[in-house]
Amino acid sequence: AQSVTQPDIHITVSEGASLELRCNYSYGATPYLFWYVQSPGQGLQLLLKYFSGDTLVQGIKGFEAEFKRSQSSFNLRKPSVHWSDAAEYFCAIPIQGAQKLVFGQGTRLTINP
């Protein structure tokens, strides 16, 4: 079945450190893939998305993600995190003929000062 998995439920990094959040997908063809962020008490906001072409995708707020077909991964990265990046991060994939979006379990990011 088409799905995404986020292996890390909770990650803590220090402010200024680099970040990588993992996302693995299960899909027969080249998938569409998304990363969304949910700040505390708010709705989700799109960070970036991959459809095809360049496997390194740039997003908002200094985030980027790399699509690796050989590893079935779409990991999210940021070179230097800020305290405001503390949030819940969701990887997502459209399924059932792209009629619906399925989200991973989410990774909660905590930033140490």
């Binding site: 998304f34 709705g43 459809f51 969701f90 459209p94 009629q99 619906k100 979006l101």
Partner: protein
């Protein structure tokens, strides 16, 4: 201007009551969604509508009934509320299918006592 708005933001009610949550989008999108986010932050689609037509109806109890009076509005009515209905409910919209960016409302936190 708020793109996707929901009312109310908080809803506290007793078991057995009936309640409604309203959603409006001013983005001119054709598709609207209802999601349920549980206490572990797991996000699951409940319904989607395209131009007022029901497209997705997940395995949601019949007590939940969505209504789309026009393509800018998607309301959720819940009958005979149960403790397990306590969650955060998000409305979202997109231009077309699940491959398009979804824009989320701020959420409605429902607490059933």
């Amino acid at each position: 201007d708020t793109a996707v708005s929901q009312t109310p933001k908080y809803l506290v009610t007793q078991m057995g009551n009936d309640k409604s949550i309203k959603c409006e989008q001013n983005l001119g999108h054709d598709t609207m969604y209802w999601y349920k986010q549980d206490s572990k932050k797991f996000l699951k689609i409940m319904f989607s509508y395209n131009n007022k037509e029901l497209i997705i109806n997940e395995t949601v109890p019949n007590r939940f009934s969505p209504k789309s009076p026009d393509k800018a509005h998607l309301n959720l009515h819940i009958n005979s509320l149960e403790l397990g209905d306590s969650a955060v409910y998000f409305c979202a919209s997109s231009q077309g299918s699940g491959r398009d960016t979804q824009y989320f409302g701020p959420g409605t936190r429902l607490t059933v006592l």
